[in-house]
């Protein structure tokens, strides 16, 4: 079991190392990178927007429900919504959702290419398949996912404001006042650090599972599921480590 784990980690590191060679043609790699940016970014924007908006809204309502003391100013609700969205909801929850949406897509795409011999076809042409197929996905994820997290943060706070004001929990002025209270810019740095770490996990782990699939359709499905499960576990683990180290 432990030997197998080391074997898998070694294989994963070799995959990552194998990506770093001079591209056969920069133009084609650039095109693939842009294509991946659009696929990962634009393709996930809808689900990210919906989830973050509602998470913000729910957190505003639930925070208000728990703050029953009249001694606590209502503006604190906005402050709590802001900090939970920045610190946890936007980076972690959105990335867990992305692990499912983007991760399963990457794993099944590469798995299908492996099973239908498309990866072999590229290799026979003399193309470094690790560099051409995996590197643009990881670089695109590293660029686009933090942007999605920033968008999710904004939408989460907006969702909290609309829900809080709309349900009469607090006024718009109180929410805006709370939003500015005790703002710690370091939290944004922390959120982005998490976003970059999770982006790497979301793109590289499914790429590894997809790239080395053996078998047929059943194995593609299995590897896709495994990649999502492993990515989610690694995201939660990394979340804890980063929190312990950076906060």
């Amino acid at each position: 079991m432990i030997m197998k784990l080391f074997h898998e980690i070694g294989k994963f590191l070799l995959l990552i190392r194998g990506m770093f060679t001079t591209p056969e043609n920069w133009k084609v790699y650039w095109k693939e990178f842009i294509h991946q940016c659009s696929d990962i970014g634009i393709g996930s924007l809808g689900i990210v927007a919906i989830i973050s908006f509602f998470i913000g809204a729910v957190s505003a309502v639930q925070t208000a429900y728990q703050l029953v003391s009249p001694l606590i100013p209502k503006a604190s609700i906005a402050q709590i919504v802001r900090d939970t969205v920045i610190l946890e909801f936007a980076p972690t929850l959105v990335c867990i959702v992305l692990a499912g949406v983007v991760g399963s897509k990457i794993a099944s795409e590469l798995g299908n290419m492996r099973v239908s011999e498309q990866i072999d076809a590229l290799e026979i042409m003399g193309i470094n398949t690790k560099a051409y197929l995996v590197l643009p996905k990881i670089v695109a994820a590293l660029l686009v996912i933090p942007m999605l997290v920033v968008i999710a943060t904004g939408l989460g706070i907006l969702g909290g404001r609309i829900a809080g004001v709309g349900s009469g929990i607090l006024s718009a002025e109180e929410f805006d006042k709370g939003l500015k209270q005790n703002f710690v810019p370091y939290n944004v740095f922390f959120a982005l650090s998490k976003a970059y770490t999770f982006s790497f996990i979301i793109s590289s782990v499914p790429a590894y599972f997809g790239f080395y699939v053996e078998g047929g359709a059943l194995e593609i499905g299995r590897s896709s599921t495994r990649s999502v499960v492993v990515s989610c576990v690694l995201i939660l683990f990394a979340d804890y480590i980063l929190s312990a180290l950076l906060l």
Binding site: E24, S116, E117, D120, I124, M125, G126
Partner: protein
């Protein structure tokens, strides 16, 4: 020319290729035949470098391939075109883009020049009006032809075809076989075809290597194969009663024991019995 010297390959304890020696000639269709599990696919994958053999050497025009550095190997690979069993077309690209892909990757030609070359090779494989179709929208035979077009677009020196007729009807198979043969002669390519389709063997087998349980059991051409005395080869190629009868007829024809169409007809259909 491709030379294979004492090639050995196994997986775990199982020996798949057991010291094979062979020569694949220029301008000829070199066929690797054998039943399922005989090691022909593994042999082909060793030839193109997808599997690393445990022992032995492979020479491409005198250059040793198996122990080459990745960079040097890339240069040889640029001279290789391959048609895969399932065609291996890129799902996300249309026919034109699939065929253009090697040009995009390895040339700095203008789009117009690439387009012209793509049209040329698609014309050559008789696919004129499929440029904008996606692999999911075309038939198996068309996919094979696109696969061939992609394989020859960079004017390769070596063409590998892994079971080019699998999943095709006999008529389409014949078209693909003829196409491969014509391209081999036209471009003077060293073509290696991995097949167990007997029609292909008889149609395009300039040089045939018969594999049995990881060993090269027989070598010859499509004229010689029918008269071979090799028992294992005969068991493989004359697996059906129909083919055994066909062989008997060829033997009789060759020995001069039958000399007219009526005799041949009787051998095929039995004596002409009139109803009572």
């Amino acid at each position: 020319m491709i030379e294979v010297k004492n090639l050995k390959k196994g997986f775990g304890d199982k020996v798949i290729i057991n010291g094979v020696n062979a020569v694949m000639h220029d301008g000829k269709c070199n066929l690797i035949i054998g039943s399922s599990g005989s090691g022909k696919t593994v042999l082909m994958k060793c030839l193109i470098g997808l599997f690393k053999p445990e022992e032995g050497e492979i020479f491409y025009n005198g250059k040793e391939f198996t122990h080459m550095s990745d960079e040097d190997r890339k240069e040889i690979r640029k001279e290789i075109g391959m048609l895969f069993q399932g065609s291996a077309l890129f799902d996300s690209l249309n026919v034109e883009r699939n065929v253009m892909f090697p040009l995009d990757m390895f040339t700095d030609w203008s789009y117009r020049k690439k387009r012209k070359r793509v049209d040329e090779v698609l014309d050559r494989v008789n696919l004129e009006k499929a440029n904008k179709k996606f692999p999911a929208e075309i038939s198996g035979g068309m996919k094979k032809r696109v696969g061939i077009a992609r394989a020859i677009v960079l004017n390769p020196k070596y063409l590998f075809c892994d079971e080019p007729n699998s999943g095709l009807d006999p008529q389409t198979s014949l078209v693909i076989d003829k196409l491969i043969q014509e391209l081999t002669i036209e471009y003077n390519i060293t073509t290696v075809v991995n097949t167990h389709d007997m029609n292909s063997v008889m149609e395009v087998g300039d040089n045939i290597i018969y594999m049995h349980q990881g060993n090269k059991e027989w070598e010859g051409n499509n004229k010689e194969i029918i008269f071979s005395k090799n028992e294992k080869l005969n068991e493989f190629i004359f697996a059906s009663e129909f083919l055994k009868d066909a062989k008997d007829m060829r033997m009789l024809e060759a020995s001069g024991k039958i000399d007219n169409d009526r005799d041949m007809n009787e051998l095929i259909n039995g004596p002409d019995l009139k109803p009572c």
